[in-house]
Amino acid sequence: MRHSSFQDFMTREKISCGTYLPASESLLFADSVFDPSQNQRISRVVLRHIPTCTDRLILEGTGPMPSPDRSCFAFLRPAPGGPQLCISTMEGEVRELTHFSAPVLDPRWSPDGNWLVFTSPAADDGAAGPAPAYMPSMGNNWNHALDPVATEDFGYKFDGLGFKRPRVMHLFVVPADGSGEARRISSGSCHFLHACFAPDNAHVICESNLYCNKENSIAMDVLSIDIHTGEIVRLTQDLLVVSYPNPVRPVCTPDGRSLIVGVLDMPETAAREVAYPSCTLCRLSLESHELTPISRQTEDCFDTVQLAYNAETGAGLEKVVVSSDKQSVLFCAGYLGVGTVYRVSLEGARNRPVRLTDAEFCYNGLAPAGDGWVLAARSATDTPEQYVLLHESTGEVRLLYQSNADDLAETALSRASAFSTPVLDGEGTVHGWCLPPQEMQQGRQYPCIVYVHGGPHPFYSNSFDMEMQAFAGEGFGILFCNPRGSSGYGDRHRQVFHAYDGSAYTDILLFVREAAKQFSWIDEKRLGLTGRSYGGYVTNYAATRSTLFKAYITQRPTVNRLISYASSDMRRSSRDYPSYGEFMDHELEHSEIMRMEKVSAPFLILHGMDDLRCPVEGARQLFVALRDSHAPDFPVRMILYPHTAHQQPQEPRQLQHYYSAMLEWFRTYL
């Protein structure tokens, strides 16, 4: 058996946008595979006949979306200005529907199959406010990315998108038969996202920040837009429909009279504390705009949306779908560290959700499949992503497609063991996993990496994690857990306050101690600590307090709250402080940068240069502070990645460099 390596990031298969077509017993999906001849990834749309395991159709493209009558499918084909919308018959006859100079995104069919709605970035209508004053007319060689950007309000930048250009996401509709050109149905200078058609085929339901406070970036309003007149009806008033980072697309009820939307339970003080609220599924009447919660919190269902930190599954699938009997909706939510599928009745209010899946696999992403079944994406710590058919009532499962099947057979993937330990203040337990090194030798001791998740509100799940397997393949054990602040363990556990008051840190230390007790192969003298974003914050926090860890890698952390206040796209408020000076002192007092001279083990900083969430300015300050306050031979290193936002580098060579640097650091110091 071979071992996993970081090279596997390049070569592994990634699947998305799966739909099961029962009449033809086929699976329509997109996969991204490595083409050794071109030394790069290619994205393909695949139509696979399940009983014979044969691919009936392969096209270059992404995002396949079958028509309501299943006679053809829409998909996005690469083009110079970005992907364009095409329609293909099941036999592969392709017709192009758009010829935009900008990318086309997220297409959805009308129920009658006559229309498609999609989003695309387009120039705003000038009401966006300040454009930079007069620019001289420039020749063709001028790079417009260098155009100045002017702002007089918040919301002028967003991580991953950069500074706000006078372009916003607009909605377009196009006749599916190609009888007309695509036309824009939205206007103004705000975003219109996550659209779907209403059952009447004449209105598009979407989410928009048209009426929202610009400071609010995680929730939007639901609107209905008449595709013929462009008339907008605002369906929600001061209601916050979950939009970021894990959007729930509104779903129409089968009777066409309501929408199911995911509503954030935004506490009064939400703006004051960086907390991610929980989400309730509600029925929104299209007539009265009345809102009724359809689910309630129970002892085995804490939430109706999940933020599984490491569940790289379910790309392009939905979070909420209507069951084929039209009586209930199915949704995924986190329960004790596992992505779980629930069913809840559409009728009435505050119904008790029924849990359909167990803890063996982590589910993340659903698509309707008909006849009492739903397609679901799932994985386990030693099993890469699968598409399965899940029975809507019994929870019975049938495997449709196993991605990376060859790798699965040839690689010595490790399986993580789950365990829990009580927290110090007796307020519950901390739950997590230990992933052993691949093909561990009996009696030998191994170095171990403690990996802290970001957020703090997402949770680690038991899903497949390529990065952890690669470390396991290189001979490291991995410990990962869900300390206080993580979701999926109830409201008390998720309180954000405990993520920053030291409780989460002690939870992690207790978890590590328990792991060392349970697994004799863990060499307690060779422990390393790393984490991204909030996990980077915990890494910094631990580095100034603990002597347990022999090497640290902090990935894109928040370092100085005063820097984040002005330079992050998500920020705290200074309004409660009588003077700005007092606010400054308070923010500094609560910033980890203030104690960094206490770090006593080798410290590596990894940060994206375009990170606007945890601004790169913080990394620069952290590096200089560590260098300034330590002897010249103390091992401190910072690696900054150009064109990289608040995420791992997306460019393949950069990503290889990133993991090589991590591996080298832990190998050298553990």
Partner: protein, 688 residues
């Protein structure tokens, strides 16, 4: 009828630099920089002037657009050497003087195709010097290129693709403290400035690899010695330079200084090649100025050429703010026999001085205005120089023995058809009676006697800098938009003697008092409406602007460009943050250091601002990071939403983008200023 000066004209202005003269003094060559509307960048050409006929010819090609810089005549007068990017990277090239003369006499441009490209280094040549028998050059190289012997040939297509990936996408791997620099607009890229020599006869080039960077080389006239700057330090002093001398075969590298204090100007060999003259910082009780030092190579320690105990000693250079970028090859000191001529800004003009090569001299004035000399070359019975004034961009001129300036050619004829306001120079006694503040007031255009106009107070960057009599384009554009413009050099500025330029004073209330006094004096001229005053500043001036509007509501609108307001967030993010406490060799307690920075930050008084504020900032500003403007913008907008605040971000732009940056950035910055003041001083909405 004359035209109004507008920001459109910025793209038409031509900036001159790099003046040089042929050994027989018959030909002068200089660079002309202009901005391209094609890509927004600066493009440089070389123009040659025949002094007897005043005929001019530009080096040009009908084939392709290229830049040519750094012209130098060979000592035998046979060739004009220069750098050109026609081969892709800047390489040394030369053209026969006879070819130039033929073109001048025929009235044609000098055909570029007649020139020879002499070097083929992979990343271009940064600077060079020459004598009769040798050329020395500086080129950036990476360690692996030196080891693999790739330092003297152009990159292959694969190597270029890899190099471009590394420049654009390559991870920045940082272990040294001083890893960023404004000159790089970002992070050091790992290249090492390396010297090489070129034999002008055999055209054989040789590299002189060294463990640390060596730059700005100059040759002794016999070609046996090279004097250059070097970066021998590690850790927090990594980027600081010292002076070195070595044999031109690369042997016997000798470090001449070790005090971290040399100036940025290339050194100069004396006529006997036994000594070098160089610039260095003179620091005395928080006051600082550049001085000139001479070091005999065989002796220990340098001799100070200037006597700072004398109150009228100007120092060297004087750090004038140049509102147009004239390039970086200024000949600011020249030897003629045993007399050293040099330039220094003093009392509002850039003056020419001379001294003999002895210790502790008080310089003699050769020329002290009107206007400013940017560069000069001594010639028989006078000087050739680049000279500019309040109403004229620098042009090539002759300075005769009787101190008269005679223009020889004009690169900016466009300005002759532009109406410019009168510029009034005032000398204002400071309120404490200890200084005289030099102030300049631009009358608005058009100007009507008896009318009162809104006015803008403009504060320069620095604090160690000064506004000399020169063509300051943005001030003229503000005047042409109907504003009186007031600017002055408050205490803390350079160019008024050593004691005036005190760092401690610059950050006290004294400059604010000086500015108020200058403003009151300007208002007393009678044409300024004291109720319609605006304030704008760049860098230090922008910071001062913010500080002033936190303490007075006298101004109707304010503009801060590249401001520095929060020392606690600047730590690690800007040059001031890079000044490491290591230098005090005490243990660093970060809490103490950061709280001290927080308490010293002017942004603490943000709640006092009542003035509409426009912030202009380059996103790649390494001096004062963009986050500084964000601190003000976000804090002010959140806490006082009733006060208009606007932030304009210039992608890829550095600290001095409004002078040296891309054309659209320069134009946009001026337009933003004009529109902001129109909104709050004239209540006009911007029309674009």
């Amino acid at each position: 009828m004359k035209k109004q000066l507008s920001s459109d004209l910025i793209s038409d202005l031509v900036c001159l630099s790099g003046l040089t003269v042929s050994p027989d003094e018959l030909l002068a060559a200089y660079m002309e920089r202009r901005s391209s509307r094609r890509d927004g960048n600066w493009h440089t050409g070389i123009r040659i002037l025949e002094r007897s006929s005043l005929a001019c010819a530009a080096l040009s090609s009908s084939q392709a657009a290229f830049s040519a810089t750094n012209p130098r005549f060979s000592p035998d007068g046979m060739f004009l050497y220069f750098l050109t990017d026609a081969p892709g990277e800047y390489q040394i090239a030369r053209i026969r003087t006879l070819t130039i003369l033929a073109a001048l006499h025929a009235g044609h441009p000098v055909d570029f195709s007649a020139c020879e490209i002499l070097t083929h280094v992979p990343h271009g040549i940064t600077s060079y010097d020459l004598c009769a028998s040798l050329l020395v050059f500086e080129t950036p190289l990476w360690k692996n290129e030196i080891h693999e012997g790739r330092g003297l040939r152009e990159m292959t297509a694969d190597e270029r693709a890899e190099f471009e990936w590394q420049c654009d996408w390559g991870p920045r791997d940082i272990t040294e403290l001083d890893y960023r620099g404004e000159d790089l607009y970002g992070i050091r890229n790992g290249s090492i400035a390396t010297l090489g020599t070129l034999d002008p006869v055999t055209l054989r080039a040789i590299l002189i690899p060294n463990a640390f960077p060596l730059s700005k080389p100059v040759l002794s006239s016999d070609g046996r010695k090279i004097c250059c700057h070097g970066q021998p330090h590690t850790g927090p002093f990594f980027s600081e330079e010292e002076l070195f001398v070595l044999n031109s075969d690369g042997s016997e590298l000798q470090q001449l200084t070790e005090d971290h204090l040399i100036g940025e100007h290339p050194a100069l060999f004396t006529g006997d090649n036994l000594s070098v003259i160089y610039s260095a910082w003179h620091i005395q009780n928080h006051a600082m100025a550049l001085t000139l030092k001479m070091r005999t190579l065989s002796s220990q320690g340098p001799v100070d050429l200037l006597d700072f105990s004398h109150p009228h000693t100007p120092g060297f250079d004087g750090l004038p703010v140049r509102c147009t970028p004239y390039g970086n090859t200024c000949s600011r000191m020249q030897l003629r026999g045993s007399t050293l001529y040099f330039l220094c800004a003093m009392n509002g003009t850039e003056n020419l001085y001379r001294i003999s090569l002895r210790a502790s001299q008080v310089p003699h004035v050769v020329y002290s205005g009107p206007g400013s000399i940017h560069e000069f070359v001594p010639v028989h019975r006078g000087f050739l120089c680049l000279w500019g004034s309040d109403s004229s961009m620098a042009e090539i001129c002759e300075l005769s023995g009787d101190r008269t300036i005679r223009p020889l050619a004009s690169s900016n004829p466009v300005l002759k058809s532009v109406e410019m306001g009168e510029v009034i120079h005032q000398r204002v006694p400071s309120r404490d009676g200890r200084a005289v503040i030099f102030s300049t007031v631009y009358r608005p255009v058009p100007f009507e006697e008896g009318r009162q106009y809104p006015a803008v107070l403009y504060l320069h960057d620095g604090p160690q800098a000064c506004l000399t009599q020169d063509f300051h384009q943005e001030l003229h554009i503000l005047a042409a938009s109907g504003y009186a413009v007031i600017c002055c050099d408050p205490r803390g500025s350079s160019g008024y003697g050593l004691s005036f330029c005190n760092r401690k004073t610059a950050w006290s209330d004294t400059p604010i008092h000086d500015i108020e006094d200058a403003m009151d004096a300007a208002v007393s001229l009678g044409f300024i409406d004291p109720n319609r005053l605006g304030i704008a500043g760049e860098g230090y001036g922008g910071t001062l602007t913010c500080s002033i509007i936190m303490h007075t509501n006298r101004f109707r609108a304010a503009i801060g460009q590249s401001v520095f307001v929060n020392q606690a967030t600047a730590y690690g993010n800007g040059d001031p943050g890079m000044h490491s406490p290591h230098k005090q060799s005490e243990p660093v307690i970060l809490r103490d250091a950061l709280m001290q920075r927080s308490r010293a930050s002017i942004i603490r008084d943000l709640d006092h601002i009542r003035t509409p504020l426009l912030l202009l900032h380059g996103y790649s500003d390494v001096h004062s990071s963009f986050e500084q403007s964000e601190q003000l913008f976000v804090g002010l907008h959140e806490r006082h939403p009733e006060i208009p605040v606007r932030l304009v971000m210039f992608p890829g732009a550095g600290h001095r983008f409004s002078r040296e940056g891309l054309l659209p950035h320069r134009v946009c910055a001026v337009q933003e200023m004009v529109h902001w003041f129109a909104r709050y001083l004239k209540h006009e909405e911007a029309t674009g």
